[in-house]
Protein backbone atom coordinates (compact mmCIF):
# COMPACT_ATOMS: atom_id res chain seq x y z
CA UNK A 1 0.00 0.00 0.00
CA UNK A 2 2.67 2.44 1.05
CA UNK A 3 4.88 1.67 -1.93
CA UNK A 4 2.02 2.32 -4.32
CA UNK A 5 1.52 5.71 -2.73
CA UNK A 6 5.16 6.69 -3.23
CA UNK A 7 5.17 5.68 -6.83
CA UNK A 8 2.09 7.76 -7.43
CA UNK A 9 3.76 10.69 -5.75
CA UNK A 10 6.89 10.37 -7.83
CA UNK A 11 4.93 10.14 -11.04
CA UNK A 12 2.77 13.12 -10.14
CA UNK A 13 5.36 15.79 -10.80
CA UNK A 14 4.77 18.66 -10.91
CA UNK A 15 1.88 18.07 -8.55
CA UNK A 16 -1.31 20.09 -8.78
CA UNK A 17 -1.40 20.75 -4.99
CA UNK A 18 2.02 20.09 -3.46
CA UNK A 19 0.93 17.07 -1.42
CA UNK A 20 2.32 16.04 1.91
CA UNK A 21 4.84 13.22 1.59
CA UNK A 22 3.24 10.59 3.78
CA UNK A 23 6.11 8.13 3.64
CA UNK A 24 8.57 10.83 4.67
CA UNK A 25 6.37 11.55 7.69
CA UNK A 26 6.28 7.82 8.42
CA UNK A 27 10.10 7.82 8.25
CA UNK A 28 10.16 10.70 10.75
CA UNK A 29 7.99 8.60 13.04
CA UNK A 30 10.48 5.72 12.86
CA UNK A 31 13.32 8.04 13.87
CA UNK A 32 11.29 9.46 16.77
CA UNK A 33 10.52 5.90 17.85
CA UNK A 34 14.21 5.00 17.76
CA UNK A 35 15.04 8.07 19.87
CA UNK A 36 12.27 7.25 22.34
CA UNK A 37 13.41 3.63 22.73
CA UNK A 38 16.95 4.81 23.27
CA UNK A 39 15.95 7.34 25.89
CA UNK A 40 13.14 5.63 27.78
CA UNK A 41 14.16 1.98 27.81
CA UNK A 42 16.81 1.25 30.44
CA UNK A 43 20.17 0.06 29.04
CA UNK A 44 21.49 -3.29 30.27
CA UNK A 45 24.88 -1.83 31.08
CA UNK A 46 26.13 1.72 31.24
CA UNK A 47 26.21 3.33 27.79
CA UNK A 48 27.76 6.69 26.94
CA UNK A 49 26.12 9.51 25.03
CA UNK A 50 22.57 8.21 25.30
CA UNK A 51 20.95 11.63 25.43
CA UNK A 52 23.22 13.02 22.70
CA UNK A 53 22.35 10.21 20.30
CA UNK A 54 18.64 10.49 21.12
CA UNK A 55 18.93 14.19 20.35
CA UNK A 56 20.55 13.49 16.97
CA UNK A 57 17.89 10.94 16.01
CA UNK A 58 15.18 13.28 17.20
CA UNK A 59 16.68 16.04 15.06
CA UNK A 60 16.61 13.72 12.04
CA UNK A 61 12.93 13.08 12.83
CA UNK A 62 12.16 16.82 13.04
CA UNK A 63 13.94 17.44 9.75
CA UNK A 64 11.93 14.66 8.10
CA UNK A 65 8.68 16.10 9.45
CA UNK A 66 9.60 19.45 7.92
CA UNK A 67 10.53 17.84 4.60
CA UNK A 68 7.42 15.68 4.60
CA UNK A 69 5.13 18.65 5.20
CA UNK A 70 6.88 20.87 2.68
CA UNK A 71 6.58 17.98 0.24
CA UNK A 72 7.27 18.64 -3.38
CA UNK A 73 7.41 22.40 -2.91
CA UNK A 74 11.12 22.00 -2.17
CA UNK A 75 12.05 21.10 -5.75
CA UNK A 76 15.10 18.89 -5.93
CA UNK A 77 15.29 18.19 -2.20
CA UNK A 78 11.61 17.31 -2.21
CA UNK A 79 12.04 14.93 -5.10
CA UNK A 80 14.99 13.30 -3.37
CA UNK A 81 13.09 12.71 -0.13
CA UNK A 82 10.09 11.40 -2.08
CA UNK A 83 12.36 8.91 -3.83
CA UNK A 84 14.35 7.91 -0.74
CA UNK A 85 11.61 8.03 1.88
CA UNK A 86 11.31 4.21 2.08
CA UNK A 87 15.03 4.03 2.71
CA UNK A 88 14.86 6.74 5.37
CA UNK A 89 12.04 4.79 6.99
CA UNK A 90 14.00 1.53 6.83
CA UNK A 91 17.11 3.13 8.34
CA UNK A 92 15.06 4.60 11.17
CA UNK A 93 13.58 1.16 11.91
CA UNK A 94 17.06 -0.32 11.60
CA UNK A 95 18.39 2.08 14.24
CA UNK A 96 15.58 1.14 16.60
CA UNK A 97 16.12 -2.60 16.04
CA UNK A 98 19.87 -2.22 16.50
CA UNK A 99 19.33 -0.39 19.80
CA UNK A 100 16.93 -3.04 21.05
CA UNK A 101 19.13 -5.97 20.05
CA UNK A 102 22.32 -4.56 21.58
CA UNK A 103 21.87 -1.97 24.33
CA UNK A 104 18.40 -2.92 25.55
CA UNK A 105 18.13 -6.70 25.45
CA UNK A 106 21.65 -7.91 24.76
CA UNK A 107 20.40 -10.49 22.25
CA UNK A 108 23.52 -9.65 20.25
CA UNK A 109 26.43 -10.28 22.61
CA UNK A 110 28.66 -7.44 23.77
CA UNK A 111 31.27 -6.28 22.97
CA UNK A 112 31.32 -7.96 19.55
CA UNK A 113 28.22 -6.10 18.42
CA UNK A 114 28.61 -2.57 19.77
CA UNK A 115 25.66 -0.38 20.62
CA UNK A 116 24.87 2.69 18.51
CA UNK A 117 25.97 4.87 21.42
CA UNK A 118 29.40 3.18 21.46
CA UNK A 119 29.81 3.77 17.76
CA UNK A 120 28.92 7.43 18.17
CA UNK A 121 31.49 7.64 20.91
CA UNK A 122 34.18 6.34 18.57
CA UNK A 123 33.33 8.92 15.94
CA UNK A 124 33.27 11.72 18.50
CA UNK A 125 36.48 10.90 20.31
CA UNK A 126 38.56 9.15 17.65
CA UNK A 127 37.65 11.03 14.49
CA UNK A 128 41.07 12.67 14.03
CA UNK A 129 42.73 9.27 13.94
CA UNK A 130 40.09 7.78 11.62
CA UNK A 131 40.22 10.77 9.30
CA UNK A 132 43.99 10.64 9.20
CA UNK A 133 43.91 6.92 8.51
CA UNK A 134 41.35 7.38 5.76
CA UNK A 135 43.29 10.16 4.06
CA UNK A 136 46.45 8.07 4.29
CA UNK A 137 44.64 5.14 2.65
CA UNK A 138 43.24 7.30 -0.12
CA UNK A 139 46.65 8.80 -0.84
CA UNK A 140 48.37 5.41 -0.89
CA UNK A 141 45.68 4.00 -3.14
CA UNK A 142 45.82 7.02 -5.43
CA UNK A 143 49.57 6.66 -5.94
CA UNK A 144 49.39 2.93 -6.58
CA UNK A 145 46.33 3.17 -8.80
CA UNK A 146 47.81 6.01 -10.84
CA UNK A 147 51.07 4.24 -11.59
CA UNK A 148 49.33 0.91 -12.11
CA UNK A 149 46.75 2.35 -14.48
CA UNK A 150 49.45 4.21 -16.39
CA UNK A 151 51.67 1.13 -16.71
CA UNK A 152 48.74 -1.12 -17.59
CA UNK A 153 47.52 1.32 -20.21
CA UNK A 154 50.98 1.63 -21.77
CA UNK A 155 51.47 -2.15 -21.81
CA UNK A 156 47.98 -2.66 -23.26
CA UNK A 157 48.48 -0.09 -26.01
CA UNK A 158 51.91 -1.53 -26.79
CA UNK A 159 50.54 -5.05 -26.99
CA UNK A 160 47.57 -4.01 -29.08
CA UNK A 161 49.71 -2.08 -31.48
CA UNK A 162 53.08 -3.77 -31.83
CA UNK A 163 53.61 -7.39 -32.70
CA UNK A 164 57.01 -7.38 -30.97
CA UNK A 165 55.62 -6.01 -27.71
CA UNK A 166 52.75 -8.48 -27.89
CA UNK A 167 55.18 -11.37 -28.51
CA UNK A 168 57.19 -10.63 -25.39
CA UNK A 169 54.51 -9.28 -23.12
CA UNK A 170 51.69 -11.76 -23.69
CA UNK A 171 53.34 -14.81 -22.08
CA UNK A 172 54.56 -12.69 -19.17
CA UNK A 173 51.13 -11.23 -18.65
CA UNK A 174 49.51 -14.66 -18.93
CA UNK A 175 51.91 -16.20 -16.46
CA UNK A 176 52.45 -13.47 -13.89
CA UNK A 177 49.27 -11.45 -14.28
CA UNK A 178 46.81 -13.83 -12.62
CA UNK A 179 49.06 -14.14 -9.56
CA UNK A 180 47.32 -12.27 -6.73
CA UNK A 181 49.31 -9.17 -5.92
CA UNK A 182 49.19 -10.08 -2.24
CA UNK A 183 51.39 -13.12 -2.98
CA UNK A 184 54.21 -10.66 -3.63
CA UNK A 185 53.74 -9.07 -0.27
CA UNK A 186 56.51 -10.79 1.72
CA UNK A 187 59.01 -10.20 -1.08
CA UNK A 188 57.90 -6.67 -1.75
CA UNK A 189 58.49 -5.62 1.84
CA UNK A 190 62.05 -6.95 1.52
CA UNK A 191 62.87 -5.51 -1.86
CA UNK A 192 61.46 -2.02 -1.42
CA UNK A 193 63.19 0.42 0.91
CA UNK A 194 59.99 1.37 2.73
CA UNK A 195 56.72 -0.42 3.38
CA UNK A 196 54.99 2.55 1.76
CA UNK A 197 56.77 2.12 -1.56
CA UNK A 198 56.20 -1.63 -1.37
CA UNK A 199 52.47 -1.02 -0.94
CA UNK A 200 52.39 1.39 -3.85
CA UNK A 201 54.06 -1.26 -5.96
CA UNK A 202 51.58 -3.94 -4.91
CA UNK A 203 48.56 -1.75 -5.57
CA UNK A 204 50.02 -0.70 -8.91
CA UNK A 205 50.64 -4.33 -9.76
CA UNK A 206 47.09 -5.39 -8.99
CA UNK A 207 45.69 -2.47 -11.00
CA UNK A 208 47.98 -2.87 -13.99
CA UNK A 209 46.94 -6.40 -14.91
CA UNK A 210 43.23 -5.85 -15.65
CA UNK A 211 43.92 -2.46 -17.21
CA UNK A 212 46.56 -3.95 -19.53
CA UNK A 213 44.39 -6.89 -20.58
CA UNK A 214 41.33 -4.76 -21.27
CA UNK A 215 43.24 -1.99 -23.04
CA UNK A 216 44.84 -4.63 -25.19
CA UNK A 217 41.56 -6.31 -26.08
CA UNK A 218 39.99 -2.89 -26.64
CA UNK A 219 42.64 -1.92 -29.15
CA UNK A 220 42.54 -5.33 -30.79
CA UNK A 221 38.80 -5.04 -31.34
CA UNK A 222 38.82 -1.61 -33.01
CA UNK A 223 36.94 -1.67 -36.30
CA UNK A 224 39.54 -2.09 -39.04
CA UNK A 225 37.67 0.37 -41.25
CA UNK A 226 38.48 3.18 -38.81
CA UNK A 227 42.17 2.72 -39.56
CA UNK A 228 41.58 2.56 -43.31
CA UNK A 229 39.46 5.70 -43.25
CA UNK A 230 42.16 7.51 -41.28
CA UNK A 231 44.91 6.22 -43.56
CA UNK A 232 43.20 7.43 -46.72
CA UNK A 233 42.80 10.79 -45.00
CA UNK A 234 46.55 11.00 -44.56
CA UNK A 235 46.99 9.84 -40.96
CA UNK A 236 50.45 9.03 -39.61
CA UNK A 237 51.02 5.93 -37.43
CA UNK A 238 51.11 8.16 -34.35
CA UNK A 239 47.76 9.66 -35.33
CA UNK A 240 46.34 6.17 -35.78
CA UNK A 241 47.35 5.28 -32.22
CA UNK A 242 46.40 8.46 -30.41
CA UNK A 243 43.34 9.54 -32.39
CA UNK A 244 41.88 6.26 -33.59
CA UNK A 245 43.02 3.26 -31.55
CA UNK A 246 43.00 4.83 -28.08
CA UNK A 247 39.68 6.71 -28.27
CA UNK A 248 38.02 3.66 -29.80
CA UNK A 249 39.42 1.44 -27.03
CA UNK A 250 38.53 3.78 -24.14
CA UNK A 251 35.26 2.04 -23.17
CA UNK A 252 37.27 -1.15 -22.62
CA UNK A 253 39.98 0.73 -20.76
CA UNK A 254 37.39 1.99 -18.30
CA UNK A 255 36.16 -1.54 -17.64
CA UNK A 256 39.77 -2.40 -16.83
CA UNK A 257 40.07 0.62 -14.55
CA UNK A 258 36.95 -0.46 -12.63
CA UNK A 259 38.29 -3.97 -12.20
CA UNK A 260 41.70 -2.64 -11.21
CA UNK A 261 40.23 -0.28 -8.64
CA UNK A 262 38.20 -3.08 -7.04
CA UNK A 263 41.18 -5.42 -6.70
CA UNK A 264 43.38 -2.60 -5.47
CA UNK A 265 41.08 -2.11 -2.45
CA UNK A 266 41.82 -5.65 -1.29
CA UNK A 267 45.55 -5.18 -1.75
CA UNK A 268 45.46 -1.85 0.05
CA UNK A 269 43.83 -3.28 3.15
CA UNK A 270 46.10 -6.32 3.29
CA UNK A 271 49.21 -4.19 2.77
CA UNK A 272 48.14 -1.81 5.53
CA UNK A 273 47.37 -4.66 7.88
CA UNK A 274 50.66 -6.42 7.35
CA UNK A 275 53.24 -3.77 6.68
CA UNK A 276 52.26 -0.14 6.66
CA UNK A 277 51.83 1.50 10.05
CA UNK A 278 48.96 3.72 8.94
CA UNK A 279 45.74 3.72 7.02
CA UNK A 280 42.33 2.22 7.66
CA UNK A 281 43.62 -1.36 7.31
CA UNK A 282 46.14 -0.66 10.02
CA UNK A 283 43.47 1.02 12.14
CA UNK A 284 41.33 -2.12 11.90
CA UNK A 285 44.27 -4.24 12.99
CA UNK A 286 45.13 -1.87 15.80
CA UNK A 287 41.53 -1.79 17.04
CA UNK A 288 41.46 -5.57 17.04
CA UNK A 289 44.58 -5.57 19.23
CA UNK A 290 42.69 -3.48 21.80
CA UNK A 291 39.50 -5.48 21.34
CA UNK A 292 37.92 -2.15 20.42
CA UNK A 293 35.07 -3.57 18.37
CA UNK A 294 33.19 -0.33 18.01
CA UNK A 295 36.30 1.21 16.46
CA UNK A 296 36.48 -1.64 13.95
CA UNK A 297 32.88 -1.07 12.88
CA UNK A 298 33.59 2.62 12.56
CA UNK A 299 36.63 1.91 10.40
CA UNK A 300 34.61 -0.48 8.22
CA UNK A 301 31.93 2.16 7.83
CA UNK A 302 34.46 4.77 6.71
CA UNK A 303 36.21 2.28 4.48
CA UNK A 304 32.96 1.44 2.72
CA UNK A 305 32.29 5.14 2.20
CA UNK A 306 35.80 5.58 0.81
CA UNK A 307 35.60 2.65 -1.62
CA UNK A 308 32.14 3.46 -2.91
CA UNK A 309 33.10 7.12 -3.15
CA UNK A 310 36.11 6.30 -5.30
CA UNK A 311 34.07 3.99 -7.55
CA UNK A 312 31.47 6.74 -7.93
CA UNK A 313 34.23 9.20 -8.80
CA UNK A 314 35.50 6.87 -11.52
CA UNK A 315 31.95 6.53 -12.85
CA UNK A 316 31.66 10.32 -13.02
CA UNK A 317 34.96 10.56 -14.90
CA UNK A 318 33.85 7.88 -17.33
CA UNK A 319 30.52 9.62 -17.95
CA UNK A 320 32.47 12.74 -18.83
CA UNK A 321 35.07 11.10 -21.04
CA UNK A 322 32.67 8.75 -22.79
CA UNK A 323 29.82 11.20 -23.18
CA UNK A 324 29.59 10.14 -26.83
CA UNK A 325 28.54 6.66 -25.74
CA UNK A 326 25.25 7.93 -24.38
CA UNK A 327 22.59 6.57 -26.65
CA UNK A 328 24.94 3.98 -28.13
CA UNK A 329 25.20 1.83 -25.05
CA UNK A 330 22.71 1.35 -22.23
CA UNK A 331 24.46 1.95 -18.93
Amino acid sequence: MASIDIEAEIRAEPPARAPVQRVTLLAALSWFAAAAILLLWQDLTFQPLVRELALIWGAVGVALVALGLAGSRLGRVGRWTALRAPWLLAIGIGMAVWTVLTAKTGLLPQPFFPTPQALLEVFIYDWPKILHSASFSVWLLAKGFFFGALAGFAIGVGMGWSRAVSYWATPLLRYIGPLPATAWLPLAFFIFPTSGSASVFLIAFSTAFPVAVLTWSGIASVNRDYYEIARTLGASPLFLITRVAIPAALPHVFVGLFMGLSTSFAVLVVAEMLGVEAGLGWYLQWAQGWAAYANMYAALFVMAAMCSGLITLLFRIRDRVLVWQKGVVRW
Binding site: I229, R231, T232, L233, G234, W324, V328
Partner: protein
Protein backbone atom coordinates in the same frame (compact mmCIF):
# COMPACT_ATOMS: atom_id res chain seq x y z
CA UNK B 1 29.73 23.16 -69.34
CA UNK B 2 27.05 22.66 -66.68
CA UNK B 3 29.59 22.72 -63.88
CA UNK B 4 30.77 26.20 -64.70
CA UNK B 5 27.24 27.51 -64.53
CA UNK B 6 26.85 26.33 -60.96
CA UNK B 7 28.40 28.03 -57.99
CA UNK B 8 31.72 26.30 -57.69
CA UNK B 9 33.64 25.64 -54.53
CA UNK B 10 37.41 25.68 -54.96
CA UNK B 11 38.50 22.10 -55.39
CA UNK B 12 41.44 20.48 -57.05
CA UNK B 13 40.49 19.37 -60.53
CA UNK B 14 39.92 15.70 -61.16
CA UNK B 15 42.84 13.61 -62.29
CA UNK B 16 43.26 10.79 -64.76
CA UNK B 17 43.30 7.16 -63.66
CA UNK B 18 45.02 4.42 -65.66
CA UNK B 19 44.44 0.82 -64.76
CA UNK B 20 47.00 -1.33 -66.51
CA UNK B 21 46.68 -5.11 -66.77
CA UNK B 22 45.70 -5.43 -63.12
CA UNK B 23 45.11 -8.88 -61.70
CA UNK B 24 44.52 -9.63 -58.06
CA UNK B 25 43.72 -12.55 -55.82
CA UNK B 26 43.02 -13.21 -52.17
CA UNK B 27 44.67 -15.92 -50.13
CA UNK B 28 41.94 -18.14 -48.81
CA UNK B 29 43.45 -20.69 -46.43
CA UNK B 30 46.53 -20.94 -48.61
CA UNK B 31 44.68 -21.29 -51.90
CA UNK B 32 44.61 -18.18 -54.11
CA UNK B 33 41.13 -16.93 -54.93
CA UNK B 34 41.32 -14.81 -58.09
CA UNK B 35 39.19 -11.66 -57.92
CA UNK B 36 40.45 -9.47 -60.75
CA UNK B 37 41.62 -10.84 -64.08
CA UNK B 38 43.72 -8.65 -66.36
CA UNK B 39 41.75 -5.42 -66.09
CA UNK B 40 42.81 -2.50 -68.25
CA UNK B 41 40.98 0.77 -68.74
CA UNK B 42 41.49 4.51 -68.40
CA UNK B 43 39.32 7.05 -66.66
CA UNK B 44 39.32 10.58 -68.02
CA UNK B 45 40.03 13.43 -65.61
CA UNK B 46 36.89 14.91 -64.13
CA UNK B 47 34.58 12.18 -65.36
CA UNK B 48 32.00 10.15 -63.47
CA UNK B 49 32.47 6.44 -64.03
CA UNK B 50 30.43 3.63 -62.54
CA UNK B 51 31.75 0.11 -62.08
CA UNK B 52 28.74 -2.18 -62.30
CA UNK B 53 28.70 -5.88 -61.57
CA UNK B 54 27.20 -8.63 -59.45
CA UNK B 55 28.00 -8.49 -55.73
CA UNK B 56 31.26 -10.08 -54.76
CA UNK B 57 32.68 -9.80 -58.28
CA UNK B 58 35.75 -7.87 -57.21
CA UNK B 59 34.82 -4.33 -58.16
CA UNK B 60 35.24 -3.12 -54.57
CA UNK B 61 38.69 -4.69 -54.56
CA UNK B 62 39.56 -2.62 -57.61
CA UNK B 63 38.46 0.49 -55.73
CA UNK B 64 40.66 -0.41 -52.76
CA UNK B 65 43.58 -0.83 -55.15
CA UNK B 66 42.98 2.63 -56.63
CA UNK B 67 42.80 4.03 -53.08
CA UNK B 68 46.15 2.39 -52.32
CA UNK B 69 44.81 0.37 -49.38
CA UNK B 70 45.88 -2.85 -51.12
CA UNK B 71 48.48 -3.49 -53.80
CA UNK B 72 47.66 -5.36 -57.01
CA UNK B 73 49.29 -8.77 -57.41
CA UNK B 74 50.01 -7.95 -61.04
CA UNK B 75 49.89 -4.83 -63.17
CA UNK B 76 49.75 -1.31 -61.86
CA UNK B 77 47.47 1.61 -61.31
CA UNK B 78 48.45 5.18 -62.08
CA UNK B 79 46.68 8.26 -60.89
CA UNK B 80 47.76 11.54 -62.51
CA UNK B 81 50.61 9.63 -64.16
CA UNK B 82 52.02 8.34 -60.86
CA UNK B 83 51.95 4.80 -59.63
CA UNK B 84 49.66 4.27 -56.64
CA UNK B 85 51.67 2.89 -53.75
CA UNK B 86 49.97 4.10 -50.57
CA UNK B 87 46.75 5.78 -49.49
CA UNK B 88 46.74 9.51 -50.08
CA UNK B 89 44.24 12.25 -49.22
CA UNK B 90 44.04 13.13 -52.92
CA UNK B 91 42.17 9.86 -53.45
CA UNK B 92 39.44 9.32 -50.90
CA UNK B 93 37.33 6.26 -50.46
CA UNK B 94 33.77 6.48 -49.15
CA UNK B 95 32.54 3.15 -47.78
CA UNK B 96 29.10 1.59 -47.85
CA UNK B 97 28.93 2.16 -44.10
CA UNK B 98 29.57 5.77 -43.16
CA UNK B 99 32.07 4.50 -40.53
CA UNK B 100 32.06 7.80 -38.71
CA UNK B 101 34.10 7.83 -35.52
CA UNK B 102 31.41 7.52 -32.83
CA UNK B 103 33.45 9.47 -30.28
CA UNK B 104 33.66 12.54 -32.51
CA UNK B 105 30.81 14.86 -33.31
CA UNK B 106 29.95 15.80 -36.88
CA UNK B 107 32.38 18.68 -37.01
CA UNK B 108 35.28 16.70 -35.57
CA UNK B 109 34.55 13.84 -37.96
CA UNK B 110 34.64 16.14 -40.95
CA UNK B 111 37.83 17.76 -39.65
CA UNK B 112 39.56 14.39 -39.39
CA UNK B 113 41.51 14.65 -42.64
CA UNK B 114 42.78 18.17 -42.00
CA UNK B 115 43.73 17.16 -38.47
CA UNK B 116 45.62 14.13 -39.73
CA UNK B 117 47.45 16.22 -42.28
CA UNK B 118 48.18 18.93 -39.71
CA UNK B 119 46.40 21.68 -41.62
CA UNK B 120 43.34 22.12 -39.42
CA UNK B 121 44.55 25.41 -37.96
CA UNK B 122 45.16 27.14 -41.27
CA UNK B 123 42.38 25.46 -43.25
CA UNK B 124 39.68 25.18 -40.59
CA UNK B 125 37.18 27.16 -42.66
CA UNK B 126 37.02 24.26 -45.10
CA UNK B 127 35.26 22.19 -42.43
CA UNK B 128 32.29 24.57 -42.32
CA UNK B 129 32.35 24.74 -46.07
CA UNK B 130 32.16 20.99 -46.43
CA UNK B 131 29.38 20.70 -43.84
CA UNK B 132 27.42 23.36 -45.71
CA UNK B 133 28.08 21.64 -49.02
CA UNK B 134 26.35 18.46 -47.87
CA UNK B 135 23.52 20.44 -46.25
CA UNK B 136 24.26 19.68 -42.61
CA UNK B 137 24.76 23.19 -41.25
CA UNK B 138 23.54 23.27 -37.66
CA UNK B 139 24.39 19.63 -36.99
CA UNK B 140 28.06 20.33 -36.12
CA UNK B 141 27.70 19.20 -32.52
CA UNK B 142 25.63 16.07 -33.15
CA UNK B 143 27.16 12.69 -32.48
CA UNK B 144 26.96 9.98 -35.15
CA UNK B 145 24.41 7.91 -33.22
CA UNK B 146 22.03 10.84 -33.37
CA UNK B 147 22.06 10.94 -37.18
CA UNK B 148 19.90 9.09 -39.66
CA UNK B 149 21.57 6.83 -42.23
CA UNK B 150 21.34 9.44 -44.95
CA UNK B 151 22.75 12.20 -42.74
CA UNK B 152 25.61 9.97 -41.61
CA UNK B 153 26.50 9.25 -45.22
CA UNK B 154 26.43 12.99 -45.94
CA UNK B 155 28.91 13.48 -43.11
CA UNK B 156 31.09 10.77 -44.66
CA UNK B 157 30.95 12.67 -47.96
CA UNK B 158 31.84 15.94 -46.23
CA UNK B 159 34.73 14.18 -44.48
CA UNK B 160 35.99 13.15 -47.93
CA UNK B 161 35.35 16.45 -49.72
CA UNK B 162 37.02 18.61 -47.07
CA UNK B 163 40.36 17.29 -48.30
CA UNK B 164 39.64 18.53 -51.82
CA UNK B 165 40.49 15.21 -53.37
CA UNK B 166 41.21 14.78 -57.06
CA UNK B 167 39.55 11.39 -57.05
CA UNK B 168 36.48 10.34 -55.09
CA UNK B 169 36.07 6.58 -54.80
CA UNK B 170 32.55 5.59 -53.85
CA UNK B 171 32.04 2.00 -52.71
CA UNK B 172 28.25 1.55 -52.84
CA UNK B 173 27.87 4.63 -50.66
CA UNK B 174 24.09 4.58 -50.93
CA UNK B 175 23.71 0.82 -50.63
CA UNK B 176 22.21 0.82 -47.16
CA UNK B 177 19.84 3.76 -47.49
CA UNK B 178 16.10 3.50 -47.99
CA UNK B 179 15.00 4.04 -51.57
CA UNK B 180 13.68 7.58 -51.13
CA UNK B 181 16.77 8.86 -49.32
CA UNK B 182 18.77 7.04 -51.90
CA UNK B 183 17.21 8.94 -54.78
CA UNK B 184 17.76 12.29 -53.04
CA UNK B 185 21.37 11.36 -52.35
CA UNK B 186 21.92 10.33 -55.97
CA UNK B 187 20.95 13.79 -57.11
CA UNK B 188 23.18 15.23 -54.37
CA UNK B 189 26.13 13.16 -55.55
CA UNK B 190 25.79 14.50 -59.09
CA UNK B 191 25.62 18.04 -57.73
CA UNK B 192 28.70 17.57 -55.56
CA UNK B 193 30.62 16.04 -58.43
CA UNK B 194 29.66 18.84 -60.81
CA UNK B 195 30.56 21.54 -58.31
CA UNK B 196 33.94 20.10 -57.50
CA UNK B 197 35.10 18.86 -60.88
CA UNK B 198 36.77 15.80 -59.37
CA UNK B 199 37.00 12.37 -60.89
CA UNK B 200 34.32 10.12 -59.40
CA UNK B 201 34.43 6.35 -59.50
CA UNK B 202 31.29 4.67 -58.19
CA UNK B 203 31.03 0.97 -57.43
CA UNK B 204 27.46 -0.30 -57.45
CA UNK B 205 25.35 -3.31 -58.27
CA UNK B 206 22.33 -1.15 -58.93
CA UNK B 207 21.94 -0.82 -62.71
CA UNK B 208 19.60 2.14 -62.49
CA UNK B 209 21.88 4.02 -60.11
CA UNK B 210 24.89 3.50 -62.33
CA UNK B 211 23.08 4.77 -65.41
CA UNK B 212 21.43 7.69 -63.63
CA UNK B 213 24.69 8.98 -62.19
CA UNK B 214 27.60 8.11 -64.43
CA UNK B 215 28.80 9.28 -67.81
CA UNK B 216 30.25 5.87 -68.43
CA UNK B 217 29.33 2.49 -66.99
CA UNK B 218 31.85 -0.33 -67.04
CA UNK B 219 30.11 -3.67 -66.60
CA UNK B 220 31.97 -6.52 -64.91
CA UNK B 221 31.21 -10.21 -65.11
CA UNK B 222 31.18 -12.54 -62.12
CA UNK B 223 34.37 -13.25 -60.17
CA UNK B 224 37.15 -13.13 -61.22
CA UNK B 225 36.04 -9.78 -62.59
CA UNK B 226 36.51 -9.16 -66.27
CA UNK B 227 35.13 -6.23 -68.23
CA UNK B 228 32.15 -7.41 -70.25
CA UNK B 229 30.90 -4.06 -71.51
CA UNK B 230 31.76 -0.37 -71.53
CA UNK B 231 28.64 1.78 -71.94
CA UNK B 232 28.63 5.51 -72.64
CA UNK B 233 25.66 7.27 -71.07
CA UNK B 234 25.23 10.06 -73.59
CA UNK B 235 22.68 12.04 -71.60
CA UNK B 236 23.06 15.55 -70.16
CA UNK B 237 22.48 16.36 -66.49
CA UNK B 238 20.10 16.77 -64.78
CA UNK B 239 18.79 13.43 -65.91
CA UNK B 240 15.25 12.11 -65.62
CA UNK B 241 14.55 8.68 -64.31
CA UNK B 242 11.79 8.13 -66.84
CA UNK B 243 13.98 8.96 -69.83
CA UNK B 244 13.42 6.27 -72.52
CA UNK B 245 17.13 6.37 -73.38
CA UNK B 246 17.93 5.30 -69.77
CA UNK B 247 15.51 2.41 -70.08
CA UNK B 248 17.18 1.37 -73.31
CA UNK B 249 20.62 1.45 -71.70
CA UNK B 250 19.25 -0.46 -68.72
CA UNK B 251 18.06 -3.20 -71.03
CA UNK B 252 21.53 -3.34 -72.56
CA UNK B 253 23.29 -3.45 -69.20
CA UNK B 254 21.03 -6.20 -67.88
CA UNK B 255 21.77 -8.17 -71.03
CA UNK B 256 25.50 -7.90 -70.30
CA UNK B 257 24.86 -9.10 -66.77
CA UNK B 258 23.05 -12.17 -68.08
CA UNK B 259 19.64 -10.96 -66.90
CA UNK B 260 18.13 -10.37 -70.34
CA UNK B 261 15.27 -12.76 -69.66
CA UNK B 262 14.07 -10.55 -66.79
CA UNK B 263 13.35 -7.60 -69.15
Amino acid sequence: MVASALKTVPQAAGTEINIQTVSHHFDLEGAPLPVLDDITFDIEPGSFVALLGPSGCGKSTLLRLIAGLDHPAQGQIQVAGEKVADPDPSRILVFQDPTLFPWRNVRANVALGLEAQGTLKSEGHRVDEAIRLVGLTGFDKAYPHQLSGGMAQRVALARALVNRPNVLLLDEPLGKLDSLTRMTMQTELVRLWQQSGLTAVLVTHDVEEALYLAQRVIVFGPRPARIVADLQVDLPYPRHRGDPRLAELRHQALGHLGLDSSW
